[in-house]
């Protein structure tokens, strides 16, 4: 039987009617037409579907839409500033050529942003470990690790600048 849920998606309220077994990723892609969140596998391995639920990264392919009821969802579309300025992590991926085909990129960036919450001073080795649940078939990860290192640094600098204001 369909269920009504209300949630906040990228800062905007959304009311959806979903099946109890609707996956969060399907709600995001099909109900909300936010197609930046991708599906690359069916076993929760690839991480292309990572979004933030109340600021914490989750694989939206293994989260039910009803679990997001009353909560905040941030997808890749909600990361850049309203004026289009890229989030420091997005900018770092561009600067360091941390993406090629772009399919894993939304999940990769959302995971990387959450690393700033968990371990803002992550070493390259810790970054590689953190990204173990995000598969990239194109880059060989080298530039992704450089990008995340740089993005974490930029996020710290940005946070410090905000605090000083």
């Amino acid at each position: 039987m369909p269920v009504s849920i209300t949630l906040t998606v990228n800062g905007r309220p959304a009311a959806l009617t979903v099946e109890p077994n609707t996956l969060l990723v399907d709600a995001i892609r099909q109900h909300l037409s936010l197609t930046g969140t991708h599906v690359g596998c069916d076993t929760s391995q690839c991480g292309a579907c990572v979004v933030h639920l109340d600021g914490v990264s989750v694989k939206s392919c293994t989260t039910l839409a009803v679990q997001a009821d009353g909560r905040n969802v941030t997808t890749i579309e909600g990361l850049a500033a309203p004026d289009g300025t890229l989030h420091p992590m997005q900018a770092a991926f561009k600067e360091h050529h941390g993406l090629q085909c772009g399919f894993c990129t939304p999940g990769m960036v959302m995971s990387a942003v959450d690393l700033a919450r968990v371990n803002p001073n992550a070493t390259p080795e810790e970054i590689r470990h953190w990204l173990e649940g995000n598969i990239c078939r194109c880059t060989g990860y080298h530039n992704i690790v450089k990008a995340v290192e740089s993005g974490l640094q930029a996020m710290k600098t940005g946070a410090a600048a905000q605090a000083a204001e």
């Binding site: 076993t43 772009g102 399919f103 894993c104 880059t139």
Partner: protein, 767 residues
């Protein structure tokens, strides 16, 4: 900065849309009224279909159509084509068995499409599929290619492939090779498995078709490496349709690696279903379907022999191979183990005489076709493993035996007829050895031994051939508003063509790269195309574009001369500005574009390469193995490449490092496994098929020595596959070097922890 912006590490113009979720991949396209298709696949590897009853499924809620082979045949839809047919030693073209879009009478691999259900929703289509009655009388199956050529093996295509061999392909001088072997001081031989791989681009395959009954035209959205090729195959060989009646749109493509060059059953099915139902029909693979039905790569066995003189100089090479093409021939499936790879078996070495023989073998497995490198990685693996084995047998250092066998001078014609036009193999090897501190390795090995770890140093020197596939047409127009448009038929699947092409145009025209629109992948927008494969997009597509750039500049020259009041041939052109002789007076090309009659500053150019290009380079790898677990850790990785002139070093490094990850994956963790007797796919998900993760790879020290290609207009050699080709043998060389103190001289890929641990247990000796 050279011409065409060469050498600039321009950041990618396509990145903003990918980084903000605005990419448009196949599943992101939704057409009004679209229905969803679901493929019912064979759960058996081999058997006769005794019943296929879809009547109950057709009555299920939401179902719009259920297609079987009978429906496609009635609609006049043909089977999937094979477009490359090697000529065998018998002088005959390889026979091609039928490949129906949906199984006809018999199934021959697990995952073969049997029926196509179209419904309002995916859930309804899946529920309806459950109601299909499929009865199969199971036949003995064979999945392994050595088992397939055994005398008592089950036969897949007795009329086409007696003994499961479709054709015997040979190259070289067998008698001269035999003579050289008979008198050689040293003979080295190896039996190698080139493991079967699943290319696995991260975007699953998909297709969305719409049919317009008003004019009988179709539109097909599908991620592809070449929309025009796909359209032409579909129209000419499957649908019997004029090409103007089918528009193919690739959109953004989430990785290809060769696998997305090909025409698949499901692309035909959505087209047929769209016409039949009058609704757009979408099909998106889930990952499990991908493992069953994407074309696989590699899967060869090689018996390789090298004859050498007393000093370790090569006298002859002989390689006998089996190449698995699966149960049906994909478009280029038979090309890979025959024409594509065998001629590169001599590597970068002076091999006076060589002979290669390859048998194209059918098995009860998914079709096998080109995967990043397509035959060249297999060839590089064979010759580089042979060089290591020869070094060991003769007691020579692995770098020395290579150095000793490099051709004395370039250009060099190989025994198989390739002409290496340019390069400096000794210099690249030496540079790599310095960067990797080759000389200090034994100290690192000894230090690792103190920690109970086995450290190994691996080496490979690869060469490959790029730039095939004929010409590529580039269309370029400079508009009055100072922007430019490039239409080109190559296809980016992540390589960054939009940036590379824009960089070339922007640098010459004196405009921003963002002002250059690169359009690809839509047959309604781009007139012609041959697609991306074989690392051809810059060596061929880029060269064509450079000619178009020069033509546009030449078209503007009379306007500039008139404006400057100077003779045409006295006017110089630099960085987007025409300059009068001996004065500071100049006029920008973009200013001329404002006043030029619309549509006059445009050019179409097609450059056809006169010969292949030969990227080459040295990979040095250091690994440590934990003898208690067999796990291999890659600690250092050094590459020195000669890919000719470098257009964008950032994109180049991205291509090479990404390629290394795939080659390393083949060496250490990846492998498609079918159960021997049942032919069941055991590696059917990302939980079973091990793709390299971020923590499996080290940072990579990558550098280039630019030696311009002499046969390419731009001096470019190509780089899309180089990393994959060089890395697989280098990583295996390192693993075997680490294990050598334990008396282990051979290991097949993938060198998983279990394989390494088992080899250590069997060897019984600890260092």
């Amino acid at each position: 900065m050279g011409r065409f912006g060469f050498g600039q590490a321009l950041r990618r113009v396509e990145d903003d849309r990918f980084l903000t979720g605005q990419g448009l991949y196949t599943d992101d396209v939704t057409l009004p009224g679209q229905a969803i298709g679901y493929v019912v696949r064979s759960p058996y590897a081999h058997g006769d279909i005794t019943a296929l009853d879809v009547s109950a499924a057709r009555e299920m809620p939401g179902v719009l159509a259920v297609l079987t082979d009978a429906d496609l045949t009635a609609a006049g839809i043909g089977g999937l084509p094979c477009v490359v047919r090697p000529t065998g030693t018998n002088g005959q073209k390889m026979p091609v068995p039928d490949r129906p879009v949906l199984a006809r009478g018999r199934v021959r691999y697990v995952g073969e499409p049997v029926a196509f259900v179209v419904a309002e929703t995916l859930e309804q289509a899946r529920d309806a599929a459950e109601q299909i009655l499929l009865d199969v009388e199971i036949l003995p199956a064979v999945a392994d290619l050595v088992a397939a050529v055994a005398p008592d093996a089950p036969l897949l295509w007795p009329d086409h492939a007696p003994g499961n061999v479709l054709t015997d392909f040979a190259l070289g001088d067998a008698a001269a090779v035999e003579a050289a072997f008979s008198t050689a001081v040293h003979r080295v031989s190896l039996d190698l498995i080139n493991n079967r791989l699943a290319p696995t681009p991260l975007e699953p395959r998909g297709a969305l078709a719409a049919y317009d009954p008003a004019d009988g035209s179709y539109t097909l959205h599908t991620g592809s490496q070449g929309s025009h090729t796909l359209r032409d195959w579909l129209c000419r060989l499957v649908l019997n349709l004029p090409p103007e009646k089918l528009r193919v749109v690739a959109g953004d493509v989430g990785g290809g690696f060769g696998m997305r060059l090909f025409l698949y059953n499901e692309q035909v099915l959505v087209l047929a279903a769209a016409r039949l139902t009058g609704r757009p029909v979408k099909w998106i693979a889930d990952r499990g379907e991908g493992f069953q039905s994407d074309t696989h790569g590699r899967d060869q066995r090689n018996h390789a022999e090298l004859a050498l003189d007393a000093d370790g100089r090569i006298l002859a090479l002989r390689v006998r191979s089996l190449g698995n093409v699966g149960a049906y021939l994909s478009q280029m499936g038979a090309f890979v183990p025959t024409m594509a790879g065998t001629s590169m078996l001599t590597g970068v070495y002076h091999v006076p005489v060589a002979y290669a023989h390859a048998q194209v073998v059918v098995t009860n497995t998914a079709p096998v076709d080109a995967y990043r490198g397509a035959g060249r990685p297999e060839a590089a693996y064979v010759i580089e493993r042979l060089m290591d084995a020869a070094a060991r047998q003769l007691g020579l250092p692995r770098d020395e035996i290579r150095r000793r066998n490099f051709p004395a001078v370039l250009p060099y014609r190989t025994a198989f007829g390739h002409v290496y036009d340019s390069g400096d193999f000794p210099r690249l090897l030496e540079t790599a050895q310095l960067r990797a501190d080759w000389a200090g390795f034994e100290a690192r090995r000894a230090e690792a031994r103190q920690r109970g770890r086995l450290r190994g140093l691996g080496i490979s020197y690869y060469v490959e051939v790029c730039g095939g596939g004929g010409d590529e047409t580039a269309h370029l127009e400079l508009h009055a508003d100072g922007t430019a448009t490039v239409l080109i038929g190559t296809q980016s699947t992540g390589q960054g063509h939009e940036t590379a092409y824009a960089q070339m145009v922007a640098a010459e025209f004196g405009i921003s790269p963002q002002a250059v629109r690169v359009k690809q992948g839509d047959t309604a927008v781009v007139p012609t195309g041959k697609g991306t494969g074989g690392s051809r997009s810059l060596p061929v597509g880029g060269a064509s574009l450079s000619q178009a750039v020069d033509t546009v500049i030449a078209l503007a020259r009379p306007l500039a001369a008139a404006r400057l009041g100077a003779a045409e041939d006295s006017v110089r052109f630099e960085d987007g500005v025409f300059l009068a002789p001996a004065s500071n007076e100049g006029v920008r090309l973009t200013d001329l574009a404002v006043e030029a009659p619309a549509g006059t500053l445009k050019a179409t150019s097609a450059w056809k390469p006169p010969a292949g290009t030969y990227p080459n380079g040295c990979h040095l790898v250091e690994v440590e193995i934990d003898p208690d677990t067999g796990a291999t850790e890659v600690l250092r990785y050094t590459i020195v490449d000669d890919v000719g002139v470098v257009i964008n070093p950032l994109l180049l490094k991205g291509q090479v490092v990404g390629g290394v990850a795939q080659g390393l994956g083949q060496a250490l963790c990846e492998g498609v496994v079918y159960e021997a007797d049942s032919g069941q796919l055991l590696t059917g998900s990302l939980m079973d098929y091990a793709l390299p993760r971020a923590d499996n790879l080290p940072d990579i020290d990558f550098s280039t020595i630019e030696i311009p290609c002499t046969t390419n207009l731009l001096g470019v050699k190509g780089a899309g596959e180089a990393g994959t080709i060089g890395s697989t043998p280098a990583v295996m060389s390192a693993v075997l070097d680490a294990l050598a103190p334990c008396g282990i001289t051979h290991l097949d890929m993938p060198a998983t922890p279990l394989a390494v641990w088992t080899a250590l247990q069997t060897a019984g000796t600890r260092p």
